[in-house]
Symmetry: C2
């Protein structure tokens, strides 16, 4: 298909597609003349991923390029590519190295990793640092962040990760699998956070909602 059709089918304007081509986020089409290129389904798929990363995940273009470069690296096996691509996903705040709360949080985090039987060599450093920063913040503000509080979160994450990896089965090629993994990781984050808030409201309603004798007077 030509650029106009690619634009129509992807919902991305021709100007934006040209920008993604210049920024090497989108692979070039096959040249059919000096001024015309032909695009295929793989371009449509890539545009979908780019939109997930940039428009939904609010990722800077440079970061999105890193993610996309990582997932195209055919010298690596699928797990390494996925690891690199996920590792390039946007970082959160960097924990300060000399912060005593970070040191304490690291102790809790290592207990958690041990308890879960996780392999240390397969923990993406950016996600690990983000988690450490989040736990140090909880510690600094005096909120609970011990193993008893973290384990239910970790167990939920483990079950979701199994489900997430199962969701990749329908994608055929390794590149498609890795692309879908990155897109679904980003796109399901707001789903998970919204569902948690909805579930909290339901649970609060169940526990406090109708038990409060004053509720009918309001």
């Amino acid at each position: 298909m030509r650029l106009a059709e690619l634009s129509e089918r992807s919902g991305v304007s021709p100007a934006t597609i040209k920008y993604y081509l210049r920024e090497q986020l989108l692979q070039p089409g096959a040249l059919v003349s000096t001024r015309q290129a032909e695009y295929g389904e793989e371009h449509l798929r890539r545009l979908r991923l780019i939109r997930a990363l940039i428009q939904i995940g609010r990722m800077p273009v440079a970061t999105a390029r890193e993610v996309i470069t990582a997932l195209q690296n055919e010298e690596l096996d699928q797990n390494s590519r996925l690891g690199l691509a996920m590792g390039a996903l946007p970082p959160g705040p960097e924990p300060a190295a000399d912060d005593p709360d970070v040191a304490r949080a690291e102790v809790e985090l290592q207990l958690l990793v041990g308890q879960l039987g996780w392999h240390k060599e397969a923990l993406p450093p950016s996600a690990y640092r983000n988690l450490l920063a989040a736990l140090a913040t909880l510690a600094r503000l005096g909120y609970p962040h011990d193993l008893a509080h973290l384990l239910p979160y970790a167990r939920a994450a483990v079950r979701l990760a199994e489900h997430d990896l199962d969701s990749l089965d329908p994608y055929d090629s390794p590149l498609e699998k890795v692309e879908a993994a990155v897109a679904l990781t980003v796109l399901y984050e707001p789903v998970l956070l919204s569902l948690r808030r909805l579930a909290q409201a339901q649970e609060s309603h169940r526990r406090f909602g109708s038990a409060d004798p004053g509720i009918c007077d309001v």
Copy 2:
């Protein structure tokens, strides 16, 4: 305690505390002279919440004030206050009303709510709209968002919500409970998202990591 001690114990600068006082995020201290006020533990606790909302949750001051006003409304029962405070937490993108993807997403979402036996009157509108927008995006980009994909996320959210509400038991007064609920909701979001990425990497390592015969050659 005086302002200087409140600043030292909270880690918030005196200038920032004065700003929070002016913006009515922090309740005024008890005046001990025309120029001096006395602050208590409830001010420390409130500052902790404000930092969770503004510094960690990156909430605009006006939104934080809405959340704090809602949780102080003593005319309401605890569930309504919690609902109002959570409902005031920052909204995501508003789904477009005339978008056919939103209409399709709404059908899936209603199936999900029915399947979970959730009470419609206890669904915070902002979280519901965010979820709808996220599902519409998945639909628009052609990624799966059907009941089979959503249910494991919803079930994880339900289990976490039970755990979150249990975590409030140690807080004594209704106001403390609601403050902690709002802070923990915001502060555990990055914990959950980081843990999900770590768990995905572990699961990917388990499935693809050592099974790939080419891995030793890299």
